[in-house]
């Protein structure tokens, strides 16, 4: 007789053990805060959660008055938009039974929690930026028709028409990117898409899909819908179209003793841990304070095509 897995193993072995690999499921970690966005500064300690961004139009040429004639005064056009900081947060509750029964491979350890928090911030930031695309006035593309190279040309022409200077940035829904590349296959001549390389990815980050005619393309699954859901509202823009503001409120909270002092003072985001002994669990809350705004409409062009 031999000691076998099939018989003695029923008592002396366990059905399955945790593999050291913790496989992370695919996630879209495109971070659009670094893509042609204006940083509107730190809102902490400013006296309000809302900033007014003044806009001034200095696009007035000189005139040629007659000899001896007085020049009449011309006032520059002005406008303003508001950006408001709002709290963004994610909470994870982990019971003691779950935490206490984990092996090292299964643990919800500090490194994983940090990565979870970082991902949640990146996904939220991109969602906020993408939500601005819908209301841009300039638009190209045809509702319920697949995106084509023509639409991208139209967007570039539109930005040129409204006096924009490259570089141009373009974020499209994944299906729009597929349609674009499909349309490019039918194009001849020098219209070649420069697909992303490892070097480009390390420089530009996740979500970057390549360059074409001097325009950098990003893909995001958070590109909003348009026309009741028929279409995707991608966008091409130049620097100055959109802006974001963060609030590093951690230092203010430290003064009040609300946040542990190990949080760097300039942090706009941090993780807090709270014990809940009555439920036998530990609560992790990721807090982040930010807001986004469309600064200048003419610096962007929505690309509205079939979703």
């Amino acid at each position: 007789m031999a000691i076998t897995y099939a018989t003695e193993g029923a008592d002396l072995r366990v059905a399955e053990v945790a593999n050291p690999l913790l496989h992370l499921i695919l996630a879209d970690l495109t971070d659009l805060y670094g893509v042609g966005m204006v940083n509107l500064g730190d809102g902490a300690g400013s006296g309000s959660s809302t900033d007014n961004i003044s806009k001034l139009d200095l696009d007035d040429p000189m005139t040629a008055p007659a000899e001896g004639a007085a020049v009449s005064a011309t006032d520059p056009a002005t406008a303003s938009v508001q950006v408001s900081i709002a709290r963004q947060a994610l909470r994870r509750d982990i019971t003691d039974l779950f935490a206490g029964t984990g092996t090292s491979a299964m643990a919800f350890n500090p490194a994983l929690i940090a990565q979870d928090a970082a991902n949640s911030i990146v996904i939220r930031r991109t969602g906020l930026v993408a939500s601005l695309f819908s209301s841009v006035s300039n638009s190209v593309g045809t509702t319920t028709v697949d995106l084509s190279v023509d639409d991208i040309y139209d967007a570039m022409f539109q930005l040129h028409t409204t006096l924009n200077q490259p570089p141009f940035f373009c974020t499209l829904y994944s299906e729009q990117i597929n349609n674009f590349q499909s349309s490019l296959r039918g194009e001849g001549g020098a219209n070649q898409f420069k697909a992303v390389t490892a070097e480009m990815l390390s420089a530009k980050g996740p979500g970057f899909v390549g360059s074409w005619n001097g325009v950098d393309f990003w893909s995001s699954d958070q590109v909003p819908t348009a026309n009741g859901g028929a279409d995707s509202a991608g966008c091409m823009w130049s620097m100055g179209a959109f802006g974001y503001k963060e609030a590093a409120v951690a230092s203010m909270l430290q003064q009040g003793g609300s946040v542990i002092s190990s949080v760097p003072a300039e942090s706009a985001a941090w993780i807090e841990v709270q014990r809940s002994p009555d439920t036998g669990s530990t609560i992790y809350v990721y807090n982040y304070y930010t807001g986004v705004v469309e600064i200048e409409d003419d610096r962007a062009c929505a690309i509205i095509t079939d979703r």
Binding site: T50, V81, S84, A86, S135, D154, Q222, G228, G229
Partner: protein, 238 residues
């Protein structure tokens, strides 16, 4: 007086079912809005309908601010739309109820929500619906109803009709597309697919300008358009 409790009712399908997270990520609340510069030409009817902008209704976006107790101060987003000459369509606006050739309609409360498997809210319009197949959510879109909604904005007077200048702008864009396509036809005179694309573009332009359906515009174009040679040979060009 005898008191009786409420009997437990079986949960409805929509209460029980959550959308698979991968196919239906959390999406923000929104309001429909229009922009006087954004219009869609409907190839089925030949009419110009206002493009429906999905305006994010989220604290932190375009000056939107959360209010203590869970409310939302929408002054900022509304101001952005107003500054562009647009209109925010409030979901409770009674002008979203009415009657047209297809019968009565009621588009009030046009934002729907469902939870996904992560417990997050997915916001979508009433023109969309989801079918769960395996572990994915397949989205269907009712274009006919979305067109009725856009048409109702015009007929109720909520949104003024398209300006002729906007149509001219769209025609100029279409002209550019036609020019680019003509160059491609010139480079590939035997390519029927490219020739057909050119024909559609020309018919679309005609339909946009004269506000006639694409099929009608195609008939007109086919009667007038120069013939494209399907079998070109050396030295033979029409």
């Amino acid at each position: 007086m005898a008191l009786r409790g409420n009997r437990i009712q079986p949960p409805t399908a929509s209460e029980n079912t959550r959308l698979p997270k991968k196919g239906a990520k959390a999406s923000p609340n929104f309001r429909m809005a229009t922009n006087p510069r954004r219009w869609n030409w409907n190839p089925l009817t030949g009419e110009w309908l206002p493009a429906l902008v999905h305006l994010p209704w989220v604290p932190g976006v375009n000056g939107g601010v959360s209010v203590r107790g869970g409310g939302f101060d929408d002054t900022g987003p509304r101001q952005i739309v107003r500054s562009k000459g647009g209109v925010v369509i409030d979901p409770w606006d009674t002008r979203l109820k009415g009657k047209d050739a297809d019968g009565e309609y009621d588009f009030t409360g046009y934002v729907s929500t469902l939870l996904n498997t992560a417990g997050q809210k997915v916001h979508f319009s009433i023109f969309e619906e989801f079918e769960i197949v395996g572990n994915i959510a397949i989205r269907e879109f009712d274009q006919h109803e979305a067109h009725r909604f856009a048409r109702c904005l015009l007929s109720s007077g909520m949104v003024p009709k398209v300006h002729n200048g906007i149509i001219k702008q769209e025609l100029r864009k279409q002209d550019e597309r036609i020019k680019r396509k003509i160059r491609r036809v010139g480079d590939n005179p035997g390519n029927r697919a490219v020739a057909s694309e050119l024909e559609i573009l020309q018919a679309t332009r005609h339909g946009m300008e004269n506000q006639v359906p694409l099929t009608e515009a195609l008939d007109i174009i086919r009667g007038n358009a120069p013939e494209v040679d399907a079998n070109p040979s050396k030295g033979k060009r029409k």
